[in-house]
C-alpha cells in the first residue's frame, strides 16, 4: 500500500488561536515587566557598588556598600524566618479547622473573618504594633529575660518599650497569616472527596484522614502559600519601619533594644532624606532584596519539584 491516508488536522479555530496568543502575550508581559524592574534596579545600583563613604554620606559609618548591606540582609532573613515559623503552623491549623473541623455553616463565616486580617493596611499594623502589642508583650519579655536570660536568644537587657525584632516578627506573622490561611483553605477544600471518604470507610479518625488524604494532596499548595507569605514578609515596609527599634547591628537576641533592621524598612526610613548617591545605595539594597527573594523562591521550587507531585491537571 503506497497511498498514505491524509493526516487529519484539527481545524485551527479562531477562538483557540486568539486565546492561546493572548495567554502567551500575558506571559510575555510578565517577562517584560520583570526585566524592566530588574534593569531599573541594576542600572540605578551600579554607582552604589563602587561608592564609598566620601561619595555617599550614607556609607560613612560602614565604609563600603557590602558592609552597609550585610546587617540588613541578616535582619531581613531573620525577621522573615521568625515570622514564617510562627505563622505557617498556625495557618495550616486554621485552614484545617475551617475546612474540616468547623461546622459547615460556621466555616464560611470563619473564613471571611480571617480574610479580614488581610484587609488591614500595613500602617494600621504599625500603629497597633507600637500602641497595643509592644506594651502588652513588654512584661512577658521582662519575665523571659529575668528567668531564661541564660539562653542566648533571650539575653538582656530587656527593651523598655517592647519594640524588638520579635515584636516586629509577630506583627509580620499576623500580616502573612491570612494570605497563607486563605490559600491553604482553598487547597484543602479541593481534596477529592472520594479520597477522604475512602479513608473514613477504612476506619480512619479525622486526623488520620487529614494526614493521609488532605495534607499530601495539598503539599504543593502549602509551599506556594508560604512562598507568597514569605514574599510579603521579606518586602514589608511600613509596619516594620514603625514598630522596630532598629540599630543596624547583627545579633540573634530577640528581646533587646538593639535590633537588626530589614532592607525594606531601611529604604523607607532613609529614602525621604536621601539625595545623590545615597539614593543609588538604597536602590542597591533593594536589588539585594530582590536577589534574596529570588534565591529563597528557587530553593522552595526545587524542594517542591523533587517529587513530581500528583495534581489534578497531570
Amino acid at each position: 500500500m503506497t497511498s498514505t491516508v491524509p493526516r487529519l488536522q484539527a481545524k485551527a479555530r479562531l477562538g483557540d488561536v486568539l486565546f492561546s496568543r493572548t495567554s502567551l502575550f500575558a506571559g510575555g508581559m510578565i517577562l517584560v515587566t520583570l526585566a524592566a524592574v530588574a534593569a531599573f534596579l541594576i542600572v540605578q545600583s551600579i554607582p552604589a557598588f563602587f561608592a564609598s563613604g566620601d561619595s555617599a554620606s550614607i556609607l560613612r559609618e560602614a565604609g563600603n556598600f557590602w558592609a552597609y548591606v550585610w546587617p540588613l540582609i541578616f535582619g531581613t532573613i531573620w525577621a522573615a524566618v521568625l515570622s514564617l515559623v510562627m505563622a505557617l503552623p498556625l495557618a495550616i491549623g486554621i485552614a484545617l479547622f475551617i475546612s474540616h473541623y468547623a461546622p459547615r455553616k460556621l466555616a464560611a463565616t470563619l473564613g471571611y473573618v480571617v480574610d479580614l486580617l488581610a484587609a488591614v493596611p500595613s500602617v494600621v499594623y504599625g500603629l497597633w504594633g507600637i500602641g497595643v502589642l509592644a506594651p502588652a508583650v513588654q512584661p512577658i519579655y521582662s519575665w523571659f529575660v529575668d528567668n531564661l536570660g541564660w539562653i542566648p536568644l533571650f539575653a538582656g537587657p530587656v527593651s523598655a518599650t517592647g519594640r524588638t525584632i520579635l515584636t516586629a516578627a509577630i506583627v509580620l506573622a499576623v500580616m502573612i497569616l491570612p494570605i497563607i490561611t486563605a490559600m491553604c483553605r482553598e487547597v484543602f477544600l479541593q481534596t477529592p472527596v472520594l479520597h477522604e471518604e475512602a479513608a473514613l470507610a477504612l476506619g480512619a479518625t479525622r486526623w488520620e484522614v487529614i494526614k493521609m488524604a488532605v495534607l499530601p494532596f495539598g503539599r504543593s499548595g502549602i509551599v506556594s502559600a508560604s512562598m507568597l507569605g514569605l514574599g510579603r514578609a521579606l518586602g514589608e515596609t511600613m509596619a516594620v519601619a514603625m514598630v522596630l527599634s532598629a540599630s543596624g547591628i547583627v545579633t540573634f537576641q530577640l528581646l533587646t533594644s538593639g535590633n537588626p533592621s530589614t532592607i525594606a524598612a531601611n529604604i523607607a526610613l532613609s529614602f525621604p532624606e536621601a539625595y545623590g548617591t545615597n539614593v543609588n545605595v538604597l536602590i542597591g539594597t533593594g536589588l539585594i532584596l530582590f536577589i534574596v527573594t529570588f534565591l529563597v523562591n528557587a530553593l522552595a521550587r526545587y524542594i517542591v519539584n523533587r517529587r513530581a507531585e500528583f495534581s489534578g491537571a497531570n
Binding site: S57, I58, R60, E61, A62, I130, G131, A134, P135, S159, A160, T161, G162, R163, A241, M242, L244, S245, A246, S247, G248, I249, S257, G258, S261, A268, L269, S270, F271, P272, E273, A274, Y275, G276, N278, V279
Partner: protein, 372 residues
C-alpha cells in the same frame, strides 16, 4: 438560588459607591458668602515637596492661601528634605521645603532645572520650631539638665534618673531609681541633625561624633530607635523612664527638659527659639552666596539670656527667575503670605512654630522682591 440577599448587598454597595462619587461638601464652587473682600483673580497650582517637619505648617499656609484665593491649589508633599531638594533640582516642584539649606558647593554644582538658566536660588528660613527634649516620668513635668548631662544621657554614660549629676541640678525634685532609656530617630532627619549640632556646639568634648541627619552609628545600640516624630513621641509615651527629642509642638503632656544656657535653665518656648535665630549670622556674611540666599548659621553655643538653643530652622527654597512668569507670580504671592504676620500666626496655631521676627521678615521681603 436565593438572590435577594445578594441583590440587597450589591445594591447597598453600589449606592454607597455612588454617594462617594459626589462632590466634597467643603469644596463647593458656590462661595457666594464671601461677598466682602475682593475676589482674587489668581488661579493655578503650586507644587512644593519637602520636609515633613513643616507638614502641618504648610497645610495651614495652604489652607489660608487657598481660602483667600479659591482658584489656587497648593499641594505640599511631605516626602522629606532630601526628596524635596532632589525634586526641586530636577524641576519637579515650584519650591522645596528643607531642614537644611543647600551648601555653597551644592549650589555651585547645580543643576537647577526648574529655574531659568543662570538663575540663583532663594533660601528663606520661614519655619522656626523649637526641639523639645521630652521624657516620661510619673508625676514629674520638668527636669533641669545642662548640655553635658544631656549628651551623656543620650550616649548611655548616665543610665539612671537618680544619678547624682542629674540630682545635683534638680533640687527638690524626687527622681526615681529608674533606668534611662534614650529614644532617637531611626530615620534620617533634620531634627536629629539640629539636635546633634547643638550637642556638638555646646558639649563638644562629650559628644565627639560628627553632625549628620543619622544618629551616630556607634551609639545605635544605646536606647531605642523610632520612626518619625510621631514614632519618638509614641515610644517615649509607651515606656517609663524614656527620654527623647522631638519637635516641641508634639510634646503634649510629656515632661520636658529645661536646658542650661549661661547660668540659668531655659524651658522651651517659641519666643526663646526665635531669639536664637535672630542672634545668629547669615551664611552670606562669611560665604559667597547670592542676594536671595538667607541661609543661617545657627549659634547654638550662645550664652545670651532667655534663648533656647535647640531649634530647627526649615527653609523654603525657590527660584529667583522662573521660566514661567505666571508661576513666578503665584509662588511670590504664596511665600509673601507665608512670611507675613498673618501667615506665621496661622501656622503657629496648627504647628506650634515660632513666628519669625520683623527684622528677618524685612530681609525675606527683600529677597522675595527678586522673584521674576
Amino acid at each position: 438560588m436565593k438572590l435577594s440577599p445578594a441583590i440587597k448587598t450589591v445594591a447597598a454597595a453600589s449606592i454607597a459607591l455612588l454617594a462617594l462619587t459626589s462632590c466634597a461638601a467643603n469644596e463647593g464652587g458656590a462661595t457666594t458668602d464671601e461677598g466682602e473682600g475682593s475676589a482674587s483673580s489668581l488661579s493655578g497650582t503650586i507644587v512644593g515637596v519637602g520636609a515633613s517637619s513643616m507638614g502641618a505648617a504648610q497645610e495651614a499656609w495652604a489652607a489660608g492661601f487657598q481660602t483667600a484665593n479659591p482658584d489656587v491649589t497648593v499641594n505640599y508633599d511631605p516626602q522629606g528634605s532630601g526628596a524635596g531638594r532632589e525634586t526641586f533640582q530636577a524641576g519637579g516642584s515650584d519650591f522645596a521645603g528643607s531642614d537644611r539649606a543647600f551648601t555653597a558647593e551644592e549650589i555651585a554644582a547645580g543643576p537647577f532645572d526648574g529655574c531659568a538658566a543662570d538663575s540663583g536660588i532663594l533660601q528663606l528660613p520661614l519655619y522656626v520650631s523649637p526641639i523639645a527634649v521630652i521624657f516620661n516620668l510619673d508625676g514629674i513635668d520638668n527636669v533641669n539638665m545642662d548640655a553635658d548631662t544631656i549628651a551623656k544621657v543620650f550616649r548611655g554614660e548616665i543610665s539612671n534618673w537618680n544619678d547624682p549629676v542629674i540630682a545635683g541640678q534638680n533640687d527638690g525634685v524626687e527622681l526615681p531609681d529608674l533606668a534611662i532609656t534614650p529614644v532617637h530617630r531611626s530615620d534620617e532627619s533634620g531634627t536629629t541633625e539640629n539636635f546633634v549640632e547643638y550637642l556638638v556646639a555646646a558639649a563638644g568634648d562629650v559628644w565627639t561624633d560628627e553632625v549628620s541627619g543619622d544618629w551616630p552609628g556607634a551609639l545605635a545600640g544605646t536606647g531605642e530607635a523610632a520612626q518619625g516624630t510621631s514614632g519618638v513621641v509614641e515610644a517615649v509615651t509607651g515606656g517609663q523612664g524614656t527620654i527623647g527629642y522631638a519637635d516641641a509642638s508634639r510634646a503634649g503632656d510629656l515632661g520636658t527638659i529645661a536646658v542650661k544656657v549661661g547660668e540659668e535653665y531655659v524651658p522651651y518656648s517659641p519666643e526663646a527659639a526665635a531669639a536664637v535665630v535672630d542672634a545668629s549670622p547669615l551664611a552670606s556674611e562669611t560665604e559667597d552666596r547670592t542676594e536671595g540666599d538667607l541661609a543661617i548659621i545657627l549659634d547654638r553655643s550662645t550664652e545670651a539670656s532667655g534663648v533656647y538653643p535647640i531649634v530647627l530652622v526649615a527653609y523654603s527654597i525657590t527660584c529667583e527667575t522662573f521660566n514661567d512668569a505666571t508661576q513666578a507670580e503665584l509662588v511670590k504671592d504664596y511665600l509673601t503670605y507665608v512670611s507675613s504676620e498673618q501667615g506665621q500666626s496661622d501656622s503657629q496655631e496648627s504647628a506650634g512654630n515660632a513666628p519669625i521676627s520683623s527684622e528677618l521678615r524685612s530681609k525675606v521681603d527683600a529677597a522675595l522682591a527678586l522673584i521674576s
